[in-house]
Symmetry: C2
Subunit: 217 residues, 2 copies
DNA sequence: TCTTATTATTAGGTATGCCTAAAATGGGAG
DNA sequence: CTCCCATTTTAGGCATACCTAATAATAAGA
């Protein structure tokens, strides 16, 4: 069985792979908060075990097997977030942190029970797709609110779940899943924008706008 | 913070303490499934940390601090069992095993949310008392069904949760919490007995009878 | 192309918690 | 009151996953 930390490596590699293609030692070092030396060692072990391929000095890529393991963890993480939000009424900004620990100890039985209780959801409370049990994840394309045109009416597809404070603030100004946002004005000097959410006008910084993924309404 | 294994030591010492008074290295070795040598080492560390007192060659006893830690784990274990049984509809014989892992990673926030959702229960699905958050556990006295007199009418107070197969069998013959059992006949040759559960007569072995704790109805 | 800065790997070492084997202790049998 | 032996502790090691410091490889600039 994969240790908790090995599961974190695999999950992190999966996430970085979507953005970067080949995943570097340094990016893993940063996101997992361990030294590059430790990453090198662990990567060697995971390559021996067949979860990933490693080209020294070039980076790593998950094998089919490794990707499947990663998707299982991601599934458990997102199902658990859904459960915390819908059944235990945790706040949206709290669920990611809790799920980071539970994803590793959730048995397959538990996974199934929760999936059933929740009615087999396909997205989590942040809008992230939940992979199926055999590792299929449908990713819905979208754009960052930063990139929406002035005057456009957009719908919130998903939000960044990692920064709790940011998420809490977004909730407080009314940004939530499936909500409609009208881009009123874009400021070129700092990329902030004025938008209408639910009829009310608010100004949002580029940091916020960049962590909201939207589609045309 | 106490490691997962340290929490298991403390919990196990608490449980054995009720039966044995001073807890021996060998009984911990058996119940935790590690060698006596390992227990000796760990015990030394826990004594240094102030969770227990150790008299070499004589045994250990929890300090107030250690007992409080143990009771926190037990509270989390039993609240979680309750949750698995009532909300996720796990079978009675499955919940103990699952709770063994969750008890260690359940945050205080989670503990509180679950306590609330469940309506602040005082006993778990096996009839074990759930300690309060500040470490008070009310233990209800009872006797083993083995020791009930012939002809007596008893009520099930609690059942042994450790052996899943035994528990599954007990459930299948109708033994459940708060159920009434009439002792029809006691066999002296093997301590088995014939009882009436819910009107139906069944024969139960001494092993089963010993793991059912009852009170006079 | 050569040098330098960045990135990655290897070497050597630590902490935790486990093990086996050897030594110490102390309670009961004689 | 001894001696024996089961129980307990100590000694010496192993695995995992981390670290710092030293070395190696690559990429980038002159
Ligand atoms: Mn998350
Ligand atoms: Mn999420
Ligand atoms: Mn239990
Ligand atoms: Mn229980």
């Amino acid at each position: 069985m994969a240790s908790e930390q090995i599961e974190n490596y695999l999950k992190q590699i999966y996430n970085l792979q979507s953005d970067e293609g080949r995943v570097s030692t340094s990016s893993l070092s940063k996101t997992l908060d361990v030294t590059p030396a430790s990453v090198s060692e662990m990567v060697k072990k995971l390559a021996d075990e067949g979860s990933l391929t490693h080209t020294p000095y070039k980076g790593v890529a998950l094998t089919g097997e490794g990707e499947l393991l990663a998707l299982r963890i991601i599934r458990k993480h997102r199902l658990w977030e859904m459960f915390l939000f819908n059944v235990l009424h945790f706040k949206l900004e709290e669920i990611h942190r809790e799920a980071e620990r539970f994803e590793h100890i959730m048995s397959d039985t538990m996974e199934e029970k929760i999936d059933e209780v929740l009615g087999r959801p396909t997205i989590d409370p942040h809008g992230h797709p939940i992979p199926t049990r055999d590792g299929v994840m449908r990713h819905v394309a979208g754009l960052r609110l930063t990139d929406a045109a002035e005057g456009a009416t957009m719908r919130v597809l998903r939000v960044n779940d990692a920064d709790a404070e940011l998420l809490q603030y977004m909730t407080s100004i009314g940004i939530a899943l499936h909500m409609t946002i009208v881009v009123k004005q874009k400021m070129n000097f700092d990329n902030s924008m004025r938008v209408a959410i639910d009829g009310r006008d608010v100004n949002i910084s580029s940091t916020i706008a960049a962590s909201v993924i939207v589609e045309h309404a």
